[in-house]
């Protein structure tokens, strides 16, 4: 672009600003006389001009967040180095010169402390947060005020945050529940003291080198400021400064209570289980719309999550706080219950797997083997009956006898399939075995009844010409009635006890 062209831009920009906003585009269209490049240039400049934030309005030094350097002292804290900076301020690694321990010192950005109400809230909450003592909460040590600036000293956690854990894909149900229970135990402790987190997200939860989880910024977090630019979020993971982890009431600017943490915990839980944020939209605006309006897809619809996880998500993510868990301990109880249920399913699965690898069986694997043997024997019986009747069909031309044979054949095919399905589920999808057993059992029973009855009928039909075969069939039919009425329930119970009753 040449300077004389810029002169023209300056002139027209000024002239356009003197027009009413609505008339500007029409004005420019005329003034540019078909020079499309010039027109576009001016339109884009006017668009920038309309965005009335404080861009460059605060002189350089004031808009710089405080910059401390190694060796600087804030109260008793000596700065070692900067750890990170962001909208809330700058976080430094510092040393407590009295207690000789490392702390994370957060210098709150000037624009946050500028609001006296917010400052007062931070002050009083930090005071309460400092009284919280829980292994899952990074302890707030002190609040320092120095020349109008607010500093928060808290436990320094070395390790990785959950964002990096998420990048390795979703967690398995039992790992997820272990993690969730640890986080919620922290929440319970804080909520009991009336401290709300307000900004629970993967970035704020760290795993230290011992593997313990630590929630950062308890009570001293500020709801993220919204960044409503209509730009696609290009990089997965750059959700910061966007409303992806906010509750509907936060978005609406209503006062929030502990149930806002339950909602954001629900988002976190969902994301850890599935690998994706349930409300993630293309742009921040669409994310907000989803948080306010759309219901997340149940986890079990696109992952192999057990139904217990759906139940938890359903009670964390209602838009109306009243419909969420009424208290954080209730949520914790539900998580613990789900863990027990899922772990017992899994351990059975493991036993079954272990058994197939290792024949030196212990008591539970003997049960599971017994059930498998039972199923396999029944399948063999179906096969041999079909085979046997097929062999004798030459001996008779009676239509009724043929119908009996076809009936036996059909029953064997249906029940054979059902039993194979159960065997497969128990081996590879053991989490669903109870529901599958529940669905299959009535049909198995009916069809097995029919199967035995047809064998008896066949025995009658053959009774006049082939007494020996008829007696054999009748014996098998009677025996089988005993097997499916008495033996099968016993082996199934032995394999899948304790029976799961819906609570």
């Amino acid at each position: 672009m040449k300077s004389n062209q810029f002169e023209r831009i300056k002139e027209l920009f000024q002239a356009a600003l003197e027009q009413k906003p609505a008339d500007r585009e029409a004005f420019l269209d005329q003034a540019c006389q078909g020079d499309e490049v010039l027109f576009q240039e001016l339109v884009s400049l006017l668009a920038e001009h309309e965005k009335d934030d404080n861009f460059l309005e605060i002189p350089s030094l004031e808009s710089e967040p405080s910059t401390l350097e190694a060796g600087d002292l804030i109260g008793v804290y000596r700065i070692e180095r900067e750890l990170g900076r962001g909208g809330m301020g700058v976080v430094y690694l510092a040393e407590d010169t009295r207690l000789h321990r490392r702390v994370a010192l957060k210098a709150l950005a000037p624009h946050i402390v500028a609001d006296p109400k917010q400052k007062e809230r931070l002050r009083s909450e930090a005071r309460i947060a400092a009284s919280l003592s829980h292994p899952a909460i990074a302890t707030v040590y002190a609040l320092e005020e120095s020349e109008g600036h607010l500093y928060i000293a808290s436990e320094y956690v070395e390790g990785e945050n959950l964002r990096s854990e998420l990048q390795q894909g979703p967690l398995s149900p039992d790992a997820l529940l272990d993690l969730a229970i640890e986080v919620v135990q922290g929440l319970v402790a804080a909520h009991a003291e009336g401290v709300i987190h307000r900004d629970l997200k993967p970035e704020n939860i760290m795993r230290n080198k011992k593997g313990q989880l630590k929630i950062l910024d308890f009570g001293v977090a500020i709801a993220p400021e919204m960044d409503l630019r209509e730009e696609p979020l290009t990089e997965p993971g750059t959700l910061l400064g966007t409303p992806s982890y906010m509750a509907p009431e936060q978005l609406k600017g209503k006062t929030v209570d502990f149930r806002c943490d339950i909602f954001t915990f629900g988002i976190l839980f969902y994301e850890l289980a599935s690998g994706s944020n349930p409300f993630r939209g293309e742009t921040p605006i669409s994310t907000i719309a989803k948080i306010l309006e759309s219901e997340p897809v149940p986890l079990s619809q696109f992952t192999t999550s057990p139904v217990q996880l759906d139940r938890i998500v359903e009670r964390c993510l209602p838009k109306d706080p009243e419909q969420r868990y009424p208290s954080t301990p209730t949520l914790l109880e539900d998580l613990e219950r789900a863990r027990t249920e899922i772990k017992s399913d899994l351990s059975e699965d493991k036993t079954a797997v272990q058994h197939s690898r290792d024949k030196s069986s212990s008591q539970p694997s003997l049960h599971s083997l017994w059930w498998v043997i039972h199923q396999v024997l029944v399948l063999a019986l179906y096969g041999s009956m079909v085979w046997a009747l097929w062999q004798v069909k030459e001996w008779t031309s009676d239509v009724w006898t043929l119908l009996v044979f076809f009936g036996v054949f059909g029953c064997a095919a249906v029940n054979g399939t059902l039993r194979t399905h159960l065997l497969f589920t128990a081996r590879f999808n053991s989490i669903f075995i109870h529901s599958e057993l529940g669905r299959a059992a009535p049909w198995l029973r009916r069809i097995d009844g029919l199967f035995a009855a047809l064998l008896l009928l066949g025995a009658f039909a053959l009774a006049f010409d082939h007494q020996f075969l008829a007696a054999f069939l009748a014996g098998i039919a009677m025996g089988y009635v005993v097997v499916f009425l008495i033996v099968e329930p016993a082996t199934t119970r032995a394999r899948f006890s304790p029976p799961k009753e819906p609570r």
Binding site: F6, K51, S60, E64, T67, V157, G159, T238
Partner: protein, 187 residues
């Protein structure tokens, strides 16, 4: 160390008159003084509650020139030099911080690392510096207004005085510069 106020006064006067030699002697002095002061300011060692950018520049002026009264032209020139120096100081600092981050220091706390990019309240000075250079190539006046307003913290009136143009012109330049820079910086 620091030249006496008399020497500096004459340096400013000679620089205003267009003497290259005087300007090249004056620049490092102003730069050093502002650097020292801004460090102090940033480290909150100063006992004042709030020290404004503009106050910082004026303080540098007082320390360098004492209570000598300069011709307004000379004073304006001094402020322009101060604004240029402030820009240099802050950009250098941003660059150092940037290099330190890139330097592979294991950063244990990833807390809010990424926020900077998305937060509009914190201006990326390195990007601003580049955009300002591009703007200066089109129209040096536009860039100078930004330097005086943003880096030296001068008001519209002070800027007008320093540049020898009307406040209304300063305002117009300021509006366009901001729109232009923001577009440049977001692309």
């Amino acid at each position: 160390m620091r030249p006496s106020p008399e020497v500096i006064t004459s340096l400013v006067e000679r620089a205003t008159a267009g003497e290259e030699q005087a300007l090249s002697e004056l620049l490092p002095v102003v730069y050093q003084e502002l650097r020292k002061l801004s460090r102090k300011y940033m480290r909150r060692e100063s006992n004042r509650q709030t020290l404004q950018t503009t106050a910082l520049v004026h303080e540098a002026y007082l320390r360098l020139l004492g209570d000598r009264k300069l011709q307004w032209k000379d004073r304006a020139h001094f402020l322009a030099i101060a604004a240029r120096s402030m820009r240099q100081i802050l950009v250098e600092r941003a660059r150092a911080r940037h290099a330190q981050k890139r330097g592979g220091v294991q950063r244990a706390v990833t807390l809010e690392d990424k926020m900077l990019r998305q937060d509009q309240k914190v201006v990326d000075l390195l990007v601003l510096d580049e955009a300002l250079k591009a703007l200066a190539a089109l129209d040096p006046k536009q860039a100078e207004v930004v330097e005086l307003r943003f880096f030296a913290g001068l008001t519209v009136e002070e800027t007008a005085e320093v540049m020898g143009i009307s406040p209304a012109t300063v305002k117009r330049c300021w509006t366009l510069s901001k729109a232009w820079l923001r577009r440049e910086m977001s692309s």
